[in-house]
Amino acid sequence: MNLLTSLGLVASEEVLSGFGLLLLLVAAWGGDKAARTVTVASILALAAVAVMAVPSLMLSRAGVDVSAFDGQFAQDSFASYAKLLIYLGAAVTLLVAPNFFEKAGVYRAEFPILVLFAALGMGIMVSATDMLTLYVGLELNSLAAYVLAAMLRTDERSAEAGLKYFVLGSLASGILLFGISLTYGFTGSTNFGAIHESLSHGLPTGALFGIVFVLSGLAFKISAVPFHMWTPDVYEGAPTPVTTFFATAPKAAAMALLIRVCVSAFGSQTEAWQQIVMAAALLSIVVGALGAIGQSNIKRLLAYSSINNVGFMLLGLAAGTLEGVAGTLVYLAIYVVMSVVSFGAVLMLTDVDGNQVEAIADLGGLSKVKPGLAAAMAMVMFSLAGIPPLFGFWGKFVVFMAVVKAGYVPLAAIGIAASVIGAFYYLKVIKVMYFDEPSGKIGGKCLASHTAIVVIGCLFISPLGYLLTGPLGRLAESAVSALTHG
């Protein structure tokens, strides 16, 4: 494989980095006045790379043909599936960000560029087929994310969120790196294929520790219990558009990365990681559900909800079958859309002057003041709770179907029974919006761009979404097929 082919395969990463550097220059000379222009250009760049990802996914490309730089990077259908979700999350963030930041002070031109670099890092993460590529992508993403969390420099909460995220994130990166070094030491390679091959001959204790540390590091990134503590604080403290970003793109990237590491690198020792994933899944479901009950801030509540949902996604992986992985991917896609809708709706919750309203109690009587917004929130809450006929049910359905098929009926029963606990706090939000009297806190006008995002998202999570079950399932299968290839 020559260098030119390799460079051709990483075209979308080149586009993103090229655009990012170019826009950085524009920002340097244009200043914050150029922020909106930079944003539009960034969205276009994301749209372009998203289009570039489509053929690979449609054609189920996999194997050596799409492997670049001596097996360090794979532009396969699995990576493309995750990238589409990542770019979607990043683009939506950029759509909702300008108005928020202009209201809060200044919309800085670095913001869209940081989002682009984060997206670039995530693209590398999901394409990585080597531990070191993985780490480079992860760090590129994380460094951008730490800054994003602290974007509102004058807001103490935002600064605190950035610092917390940075300290805990570095710790997790350290753990991950330690795991990588152990794995390398006991298997002799950092390449996923070589690790797979080496582990198929047996599992040395050192390598088991390597697996545990690698999974711990990644569990931090997807905010799975017991590495979830940062999530509520960061979600609450970060500016809402950034929270939208955290809840969608990095979640999708880290989940995809975890899947690839588990299946490609550690696939020959499924039992070794399956128990860990199972425990993390059940704990995430339960802790996510119980933790959310006492929350009074809608962003914190959604943070716990994301922990809870990650638990369900992990259940698919815990099944240890390709069908389970496909289920996780379907859930991931639905979850990204649900997050977009929920945070889009949260951004639309403003008082008469356009200031953000975040306390759940202030949502009282929203259904009378803004019936459309309340209906959208109610839909997304029922959908997150997995109540049919909303589309969120389908994600749970495919995951549990895979778990049952793999023979883990008790796991499925416990998981699904715990989902009832989760339903309680989603109902609480609906109760406040529909049953309580108007709080008088909500007012102002909704922006057309936000409305459009929420309406499109709502159509997707409405029962109409079920018409997509076929195509979505096929795309997920196409993505998964790349994991076992070669």
Binding site: S367, K368, P371, F382, I387, P388, P389, F393, F397, V398, F400, M401, V404, K405, V409, A412, A413, I416, A417, S419, V420, A423, F424, L427, I430, K431, Y434, F435, Y466, L467, T469, G470, L472, G473
Partner: protein, 513 residues
Amino acid sequence: MNGFPILSLMLAVPLVAAIACLFADAKGARWIALAATLVDFVLGIILWSHYQVGGAQWQFTESVPLFAGFKWALGIDGIALVLILLSVFLMPMCIGASWLAVQKRVPEYMALFLLIETLIIGVFTAQDIFLFYIFFEAGLIPMYLVIGIWGGADRIYASYKFFLYTLLGSVLMLVAMMWMVNLAGTSDVPTLMEYHFPVAAQKWLWLAFFASFAVKMPMWPVHTWLPDAHVQAPTAGSIILAGVLLKMGGYGFIRFSLPMFPEASAYFAPLVWGLSMVAVVYTSLVALVQSDMKKLIAYSSVAHMGVVTIGLFAFNRQGLEGSMMVMLAHGLVSGALFFCVGVIYDRLHTREINRYGGLSINMPKYALFFMFFTMASVGLPGTANFVGEFLSLGGIYQASSWVALIATTGIILGAAYMLYLYRRVAFGEQKNADAAAMPDLDGREWTMLALLAAATLWMGVYPESFIAPMRADIAHLDARLAQAKPKGDAQVTPGNPASVAPTEEEHAQGSAE
């Protein structure tokens, strides 16, 4: 009706109307809702008239592979047909019952009721087990909102209890369904009904389904959500809850638990009998001491549902047919009773029995109808309940005479609490001036009660109209259950009578034999 998707149309009409309601004002929404429910009623009548008794088991079938893991498969048999008829008959009544009673957020209210109608019809027509589940679960959302927005003082607690109770019951059923579909390789309900699941697995599956249906039914001791939900729901909510939603539990037993797990059903029959006996006796006694009219009728519903489960698990045709008839009759009669309560609640805004009295003096027409439905609830011959209860209890007598004995006391207790209620409300002196000043039924109320009374009488005098469509299906189910049928305790065997004073020789002969 060859190939015309009438069932899909019946689902679409209320759904479209529900969306239309959201964009209408209060008056418009009322008329849209009434029109849509009446159209569905007409469609239901067409369905009934085109249903071929003795024809194919599944009629009006549709199947479109729209989704990945399951199909848009609809179809009905006789059992589903009569339950659909009950639903489409009660729906216009619900709209009528809330015509004036609901003044707050009317378009949303009507939209939710129409949505409920779609989901109910969906439950009874779904031929794919997952499609069934979606319709079955989705009903929680509109009912939660109806109770929570338009309910009484304690509505929030009631709505939570309703939602979480029924959700917990159902999710385990989902896991069981997934397991079954994996084993059988199909999610088609008619195929699953013929599939033979391993007996050991059947028991687990049966329990998972039982968890869901027992809550929906509701059976003692998981019935506690019902009185709360009923008391807090608006009148129409109570009618639809008692009239149709409770039937989903019974329908679930007869469509899933019994035909799919016959052996497990037989194994657990004593459990069901036990719970049902407690339900019949205990909840009847609880009903006797209620001071809230709706709560009293809610508890009587639990008692009646006890008779339904007893009949279902009698494992013979009499019992099964009887259960179906009790379900239909209870749908009409309890719906009518809730409406009767609603009529006076609209006038005095209290459900306290003590606040009324002597209503037969100032509201004679009302008292007449209330009397009629009281009698029907007690199970007077000539009314619908009598047919069903008689058959159910006759059926269980073949299986267990003790259960029959205890369950029959429910009728006596039923007479006690209903007549006691009636005496306190309608007879006696007019102790409260405001209650004595209430006007009698108006035209709308009179029409609705008259229609309900006519249907109750029809079902009581000529039940054949309703039993005929489901006879073949019940027979089919009975044949399926025959292999697993538990042995009855009252098997009459021909005796071996000894002669009066046996002589020595005869005795010797007898022992030689």
